[in-house]
């Protein structure tokens, strides 16, 4: 980590406006070029319950939301009661003393009450305490007031001069109060001079789709994937992307398949429950050889599960989606940057290999909000639509007017033609079919042709694997421990490695992004050189461990698993590694922050 490492938590009930000060704070920080990592622990409720937003910032990249808190902003008594015990020496707790009774703080923790009645006697509404607390917090962090004034002015400009003046006035009262009464943090937040962008994973996935040239996006709302729909809906018109909210996920995936077959790049997103409804159609896309991309933003299952909590629990659902064997590509982005960059890469692959592609994100990544270098959002991406026939060319003659949509080729790829192309009329079918598309499933089933067609489709996976970079080991090659993860856990694992190093335990990380097809040989080579392997997964049964074993026979020396709905914190992994080193096979941490 960098010179500064500060974590701020804001707690309250849904409806108390936690997101706004959280977002203002994050925007202020990224404009100073500081990195942020925001995790919002929330519930499936619109009003009430408990929401706990953690924002961690540093002048170096922030790998996770961390282990400890420096500043707690309590918007209600419940927050004080639940979380005061988390606050250690050097931390500060901001709260409205008019309404909230402080508990007993740990030695060295600074209780910072303010009086809303005293600081803003004439202002109505409860949101004023958020503004005061935010301003006071910024004072503690050594951020100059003018930045907050500028943001508040912009935010309330449309509501008129009086509203702007009132909010700036309230903020100044909070800021001055803090300056007069509280002890600031020892290191003021620096300005690196290189502003960053602030983005959530769903927005990055949606923007990745836009960069890939998606022209058709459809979805049924489902947490935690709905952010993709919202971004697409609010930008579709400007970008020329048609966005449809469909009656159910069966309709979603089938509509996307229809659009994709007709020649557009089509994408959809859902969570595990919706994905379950889509599975038959994903097999249909593979059988008809239609490229389509589906995002599954995993949440805690099974069934309705815990809609607002994270899990890596859908791997086997994705591996086994639909009946029969079929070519599919599965990728799990491991960072906010990859949420953006894997989408055009996956579209190029599914277009070339004419099969469905599945992106496994999760709540942690999709609803997590992160700083990102704006240069990482590079829309100038390579586009490869694969083998597509146009009637512009002389291709019709090559086929003597007889076009085999499913021509058997060494690569398994058969050039496709979009409906509307003259001279290439054909029928695609979910029944088994011959090279010309005619069914071999009904009248005369033909085992030899069936075998040939099946092999043609499955053969495409060899070509996909050849285009994927094998996963690489991060960290010292001769480390005592190799931590193996997939998808969203990369950041927290790599932070745990730093903590372990501080305790004299060397560790490295194998983080797998491309799940299917899998570079099993490369992984086996890494396992072969590793001194002790530990798999880290946000699920109960070790889904990736089981998959790796089934594909390669590799078995890890230990497992760290978490399936309580909350993401790993670095110390969970540190503790797990230490346990495994003394013989524990499977370590399950207990989450300390109860929300």
């Amino acid at each position: 980590m960098g010179k500064v490492d500060l974590a701020i938590a804001i707690g309250g009930a849904a409806g108390q406006g936690i997101a706004t000060p959280g977002n203002i704070l994050a925007r202020i920080l990224v404009r100073r070029g500081l990195h942020v990592n925001v995790y919002d622990a929330y519930q499936s409720i619109i009003r009430g319950g408990h929401i706990f937003l953690t924002l961690r910032t540093s002048d170096a990249p922030v790998l996770s939301h961390g282990d400890r808190l420096d500043l707690l902003i309590c918007l209600n008594q419940d927050t004080m009661d639940r979380h005061l015990k988390l606050m250690g020496a050097g931390s500060a707790i901001l709260f409205n003393g008019d309404r909230i009774k402080p508990g007993t703080a740990s030695p060295g923790a600074q209780l910072c009450p303010f009086s809303v009645k005293g600081l803003a006697p004439n202002v109505k509404g409860d949101l004023v305490q958020n503004t005061i607390a935010l301003a006071a917090g910024l004072q503690l962090m050594g951020v100059e007031f003018s930045i907050l004034e500028e943001i508040l002015t912009r935010q309330f400009r449309s509501k008129g001069e009086a509203v702007v003046k009132e909010n700036v006035g309230v903020a100044w009262a909070g800021y001055s109060h803090a300056a007069a009464h509280y002890t600031p943090f020892p290191f003021p937040l620096p300005d690196t001079g290189k502003p960053l962008a602030f983005i959530d994973g769903n927005t990055a996935l949606a923007m990745g789709g836009a960069a890939a040239g998606v022209r058709f996006y459809c979805a049924y709302p489902m947490s935690p994937s709905t952010g993709v729909l919202h971004w697409m809906a609010s930008h579709g018109r400007q970008l020329g992307i048609m966005v449809r909210q469909v009656e159910d996920e069966l309709g979603v995936i089938n509509m996307a398949i229809g659009a994709a077959h007709t020649g557009v790049r089509a994408m959809c997103a859902t969570s595990g429950g919706g994905f379950a409804l889509m599975t038959e159609a994903l097999g249909a896309a593979a059988m008809m050889e239609i490229p389509v991309v589906c995002i599954d933003v995993q949440r805690a299952g099974p069934a309705t599960g815990v809609p607002t909590k994270t899990e890596q629990g859908d791997l086997w659902q994705a591996l086994g989606a639909g009946q029969g064997d079929y070519p599919r590509i599965i990728v799990a982005p491991t960072s906010i940057e990859e949420c953006f960059s894997v989408v055009p890469k996956l579209f190029n692959l599914v277009d070339r290999f004419q099969c469905p592609g599945i992106i496994l994100s999760d709540l942690l990544l999709s609803e997590g909000r992160f700083s990102i270098d704006p240069a990482a959002l590079d829309f100038n991406v390579a586009i490869d639509r694969g083998e597509v026939i146009s009637s512009n060319g002389a291709a019709a003659d090559q086929h003597n007017g007889h076009y085999n949509r499913y021509e058997i080729t060494p690569s398994g790829i058969s050039p496709r033609a979009f409906p509307g192309t003259e001279g290439y009329v054909h029928v695609v079918a979910t029944d088994e079919h011959d090279e010309d598309g005619v069914l071999i499933s009904d009248e005369f089933t033909n085992p030899l042709k069936r075998q040939a067609m099946h092999e043609k489709r499955m053969r495409k996976m060899d070509g996909v694997l050849a285009r994927l970079d094998p996963p690489e080991l991060f960290g010292p090659a001769d480390a005592q421990v190799t931590l193996v993860g997939w998808g969203s856990t990369r950041g927290v694992i790599r932070e745990a490695i730093e903590h372990l190093a501080a305790e004299g335990i060397t560790a490295n990380n194998l983080q797998v992004q491309w799940i299917v097809p899998l570079h099993g040989d490369a992984i086996a080579a890494i396992f072969g050189r590793a001194r002790r392997t530990i798999m880290v997964e946000n699920n109960y049964s070790g889904q990736f461990a089981r998959y790796l074993r089934s594909e390669t026979g590799l078995v890890a020396d230990g497992h760290i698993r978490k399936y309580d709905g909350e993401p790993f914190m670095p110390h969970h992994i540190v503790e797990g590694v230490k346990k495994v080193l003394v013989g524990t096979l499977r370590y399950v941490p207990t989450h300390e922050i109860l929300v």
Partner: protein, 310 residues
């Protein structure tokens, strides 16, 4: 081969169409021979559809037939147009995607009563209310044929089938009033014993801008002993012969509920005052079919998207 953009545009004007060589029904013969039972009503629907396409002077590459699963859903394999033989119940969802990705194509969804009104019932209602510009031909035989004879959503009450050996105790769905009430803009019923009449209904559906339903009595000669050709021959009458006005909502609903000694066929309901989904969709207001647009976004737009995050 890596050319991306299909160049074929459907001929726009009737003059352009007429200037092209005329197709015959023979030109629309598909790669496979129908494997329907001899005497199946679906042969009539296939012939009527081909005839309608020929009379409308459409070319094979301008038409996409999309079906689900079932005996009747084999139709795309038997006609020389672009075709998609999709999953059971999903024809309308797939067809909607086709119609929206290239709204210059003529999209025809086909299938059976189980496929459309049973397992695909949700898509039926929602495709209708969206007024997607496509023609949906349901070969309604009031039985599950391909699974060898079980009750269907349109099977009459009391029908004895393999899954209702004591007779069905459930009320059938009546697709005509359901479609009208859901907001369909063209609702007709045909009968495969009246091919010329059916051709006109299909032509009307294809030229109608919006969702067109043509429910078609297509008797199953193998598994439905109740609703046979004799049954329909004795009972059906044409709405046009009785002076029915398809713009009269009340009359359409009244006719739609007639079922007994007399059963109406023909155009129940039609309205032209509601735009179809593609006409209302802002992204299609200019720029042509989505499928023919280039990929990628301009650097200026991209910069704007990133600026929103700063």
């Amino acid at each position: 081969m890596s050319v991306v953009v299909p160049s074929a545009h459907p001929a726009d004007s009737p003059q352009e169409r007429s200037a092209r060589p005329h197709l015959t029904v023979r030109d629309l013969k598909g790669k496979a021979e129908p494997d329907w039972c001899p005497g199946c009503g679906d042969f009539g629907v296939l012939n009527a559809l081909k005839q309608a396409i020929v009379e409308l002077e459409l070319y094979p590459h301008e038409v996409v037939t999309v079906s689900g699963i079932g005996c009747s859903s084999n139709l795309p394999g038997y006609i020389n147009t672009y075709g998609m033989h999709t999953l059971h119940g999903r024809a309308l969802a797939v067809a909607s995607g086709v119609a929206l990705a290239n709204h210059e194509l003529k999209v025809i969804a086909t299938g059976g009563d189980g496929d459309g009104y049973g397992i695909g019932g949700n898509h039926f209602m929602h495709s209708i209310r969206r007024n997607v510009d496509l023609t949906y031909i349901v070969m309604d035989n009031q039985i599950y044929g391909l699974t060898t004879g079980q009750v269907s959503p349109t099977s009459i009450k009391g029908m004895k089938t393999k899954s209702t050996p004591q007779g069905s105790v459930e009320n059938p769905i009546n697709p005509i009033p359901v479609a009208i009430a859901a907001g369909a803009t063209y609702v007709a019923r045909g009968y495969t014993g009246q091919i010329r009449h059916l051709v006109e209904l299909i032509k009307g559906g294809i030229t109608h801008k919006g969702f067109a339903l043509i429910d078609c009595f297509s008797p199953c000669v193998t598994f439905n002993r109740d609703n046979t050709h004799d049954f329909f021959k004795q009972r059906t009458y044409k709405l046009e012969d009785r002076g029915h006005d398809p713009s009269d909502f009340q009359a359409a609903m009244e006719q739609a509920y007639i079922w007994g000694d007399e059963i109406p066929i023909g155009l129940f309901w039609k309205r032209d005052d509601l735009p179809s989904l593609d006409q209302l969709e802002p992204v299609l207001a200019s720029g042509g079919a989505l499928a023919r647009r280039s990929l990628g976004i301009s650097p200026e737009l991209a910069q704007g998207l990133v600026r929103e995050l700063m």
